[in-house]
Amino acid sequence: MDGPVAADPVAALARDVFQKRMIGIAEEMSSALRRAAYSSIIWDMYDYSCAVLTPAGELLAQAETIPAQLGVIETACAHVARKVPISSWEEGDIIICNDPYQGCTHTPDIVLFSPVFVGGDLVALTSTIAHHVDLGGKTPCTTAPDNTEVFGEGVIFPPMKLLKAGKPVDEIFVLLANNVRNPEACAGDLRAQIAGCRTAERRLRDVVQGYGPERFAELTRNVLDYGENYVRMALRQFPNGESSAVVRIEDGVASSEPMTVACRVRLTDDAIEVDFAGTSPQRPHGLNCPFSSTISMVNYAVKAAMSPGIPQNGGCSRPVRILCEEGTILNPRRPAAVGSRHFTQQAVAEAVLIALRPFVGETGYAGSQISFPSLKIGGFDTRSERSGPEGMAPYFTVTDIMGGGGGATHAGDGLDGIDTHGSNCAILSAEIMELVCPVRVLRTELVAASGGDGEFRGGLGMRREYELLCDGLNVNVYVQQQSDYNRSWGSAGGGESSSARAALDVGGPGERALPPKSIGLSPPAGTRILLEGAGGGGYGDPARRGAAARERDRQEKYV
């Protein structure tokens, strides 16, 4: 494609310099947040995100950590501004929200905003999101697929000020501390989020003073327009047309019928419309996906398939129109539960990627694992070494999130053992896990031959086997993609992946397969639990896989 010559090319250069600077600020927020964090879910697993927004709430720059979180910031900001008008924000304020029905995603992902003022004028907003290990609710780590209402999903913060003019609203912190399972962790991580916001405020004030507020605002507009322009240029490369896709995923809580994510994509010149007509009505469980998350995953998939090259900003999503009827699993009505929306949101990404697949032709890809194998455990750590004063066993909660196989693409084999799409969390170290809770990781390994065959092989899934070291624990095991209809799809002649699985009492007398969701198990100490995610789909005719690649697969026992 030919690049358009900007009306003022010299101004365009200033814009590019400015954009780098904004991304630098977002990155700096990110390191400030992570360094100050209390919990391993942030420090070790990177389940948090940071961004800078315009005063109107459009995304200006982000640090690339978790796409699913980053994609909800604009939606959240719009909702927050409706309840707590931005005109009422003051220097030093921190505004909190985690309400899935007011622009946020699931309750554990707490979103903070803060205003940046220069000379009394609002010049920008900052935002951080972090996944808090536990926000209360009926099960450890808050989310449970069998919740039927959002009220079972822990503390809900409507948009409100958490700090006013720099002063904490103590009542909120007290209320929070008394409704969550690990108050220190929650407070520590909130403090880290605030540190992230403050870092950006300081930097932005400096930058705005350097440019002057008007020039700053102009550059901000230019950056967003550039993002929009880039995506429109990219979309024009592809033929106009329509294509649709259906992905079915396991329910296993409210119904034995799978849930259907249906989407139709229409590409018209430089705009794209994604319509989810035909998607299942909302269900009485926690797998409904709040609309903000649906939007987030559509934007992710369009970017991944068609314009991965540039930094994401609010302009990039302008050419994307999303239609989704209220009352469906992708746009549920309050008070439907949404805590386990990640199982569904990964399917949103896959549905859109499948629908976009015909447009991208030779630069195609296959399906990635969307099993989201996860383990959530809470209870008392009764190991003698852990007992506190007077022999008290400490209470703990822990979440482990495991990856699987990435889809192969036109460019090569899928990645083995990765966290895919909306998520990008690091795996929890087996040693840290055993340090902080009575759960021993016995194995963490790739599952041979789990990726689809093809000229390029699908990435391999992963398995982890755990042993419980205490009695009386509350154990929750989730692994999607166990059914044949739900394997990672092959593309351009490539094969589909193996299925995922989970099992209890592995190697013991009562060994049995676990369904996609097992909630509130309480197996005795010594029980072994297996989680195994799916591989990725293969790409291209397997007959075209080179001899050297086949030999390497054999030699390294990948197959």
Binding site: D2, D16, R35, E64, L415, G417, C425, S429, L435, R443
Partner: protein, 681 residues
Amino acid sequence: MRLSVDVGGTFTDLVLVDAANDRLMVEKVSSTPGSGEGVIRGIREIARKAEIGLGEIELLFHGSTVATNAWLTRTGARVALIVTEGFRDILEIGDQRRPKVYSLTAQKPVPLVPRSQVVEVRERLDVYGKTVIALSDAEIDRVVAATAALEPEAVAVSLIFSFVNSDHERRLADRLRAALPDTPIYLASDVNPQMKEYPRTNTTAAAAYVGPPVARYTLSLERALGDEGVAARLVYMRSDGGAATPEGVRDNPLNMLLSGPAGGVLGALEAARLLALENVITFDMGGTSTDLALIRQNSAALDRSRLVDGLPLSIPMLEISAISAGGGSIGHVDPAGGLHVGPQSAGSTPGPACYGRGGEDPTLTDAALVLGYLDPAAFADPQLRLSRDAAAAAVTEKIARPLGLGLADAALGMVAIGIASMSEAVRSLSLERGYDPHEFALFAFGGAGGIFAPFLLDEIGIGQLVLPPHPGVFAAMGLQFADIRHSRQVPFLHPVSKVTEAMCAEALGAVTQELRDSLGREGIAAEHQKIGHTADMRYVGQYHELNIAFSEADLPTGADLAALAARFHAAHETAYGYADPQGPVEIVNLRVDATGRIEKPKFARFDAGASDAVRPRGHRDIVTELGGAPQRAAIYRKADLPACAAVSGPAIIEQEDTTILVLPNQIARTNEYGFVSIKRG
């Protein structure tokens, strides 16, 4: 006479300090990757020019990239990695994160040890070091046989929780050594006794991976030096800014891995002392990247872990952040008219378009040439005559035309984008650690530092830019300021409130004595030995540590321990903006650093030019502002400038090894040591 030799990707730099005759000589030769040939050639060359015999060199400092290259190009040893049963894919899986979140095609870094060379051993300890599955003799036999069958050049052993209890690793090692007497064995409990199995295992595997190439290189170099009649005492640069004896570097080859940028930081530390600059940010800009380091109150911070090419490495190393912006960074325009510079680099082959070696992409060096900053005839490499036409053609074709810009504006746009990356890196380096960049001077060197660093003065609002006498070979010069160093990490997981003097003595006593003995064997007299103890500390419940120093006493005292928590809170406040003085604090590791002082050279007094009048050699048009007209810049030879001369910009100062740009509204001043200081006028 002292000689330092710094091998880089393209050039090998040599600096000879002849204190007796008060002279300093520099030399640049082409590098010969993987062999000591270039080093020997350089030494012959500089000795010939200095008219000295090779036997007259007393001390030889060597910085080598052999370990780095082996890692980056995956040409290290064939390693067998032994891990606890169930963890064979520890390197394959890594941390399971994707390198680029929006890319479906991005690849993960290739593991140092392939899956087929990983051997699992049936054994298991718990988090407290107690045996869960005992390691049987039969299992040891099986594992040793399986390992031997792989015919490894080196073996790495990293078992779960071996940092708490190394018994299983040691038993395996004993039998492996007996079965494979000529194969080096590296244990995680020695190399990196620290929690988190992936970084620890990767670090241990890395030691085995670079160990054999380091041994081959150093032994063959030492033989060749002997053959040449060089009798000098030889030391190698370490990643933490210390130096190692030949035996020391072969025992701990990892210490060489990131030693490349260390010489520059050491030199800057010494120069900052000389110039009474307390706070300095070093800016070492080469062909493919720029290395930055922070010097605060005359000391450079150490990092305990870092990603190297996407893989975690946990060893002490100077805290240096590298950004992929160098003279060879390539500019390109995206379809929507956005201009980008890097991370792709033209490297040294084909190199920038102006090299005329087939490079067609415009690089920052091409931009500098187009803008008049560089003289085509006076580039650091005498074999190379730069083609301004080729540079202009590349910038026109790839940048100016697509953007609808004039040639000069296109080149300036590239410079502006490159500067934006660099200034972001400088800002985050200081701000992230709680410091204000305005309180720092920028200390620039490397081949391209003198051209690009002046732009950062205004961009960041830094008060002063300082360039050393020979920026192009400064890293080599810096090697000469290294002291011999040994360091050791001791796992020590205890709440700080429960730690006693006796516990520290028990944990540190023997190790400290061992390091003293090593220094003694290396000929360092007791009065030149310095021992420092530090503790990695954190709030209970957190997972990242701050390294806090004990006071100077030989072993930590009770008073020292009492002060430790307070020091931790203060450091936490600085680094993260908050502290929790009531929060319980724990120690994770103790560390011992043993330094053996080697006498330092002095910066030579500058030999003033022939005349006191500052007279330019000529003039050249340069462009320094977007949309601006060319300005006539005076060209000076550095050698013509007397000490304490002042040069107002726009001007260019040229010397053998580099070119320094003085922007309009800037004033450059020389001092009696040959440093150039640039400030806003």
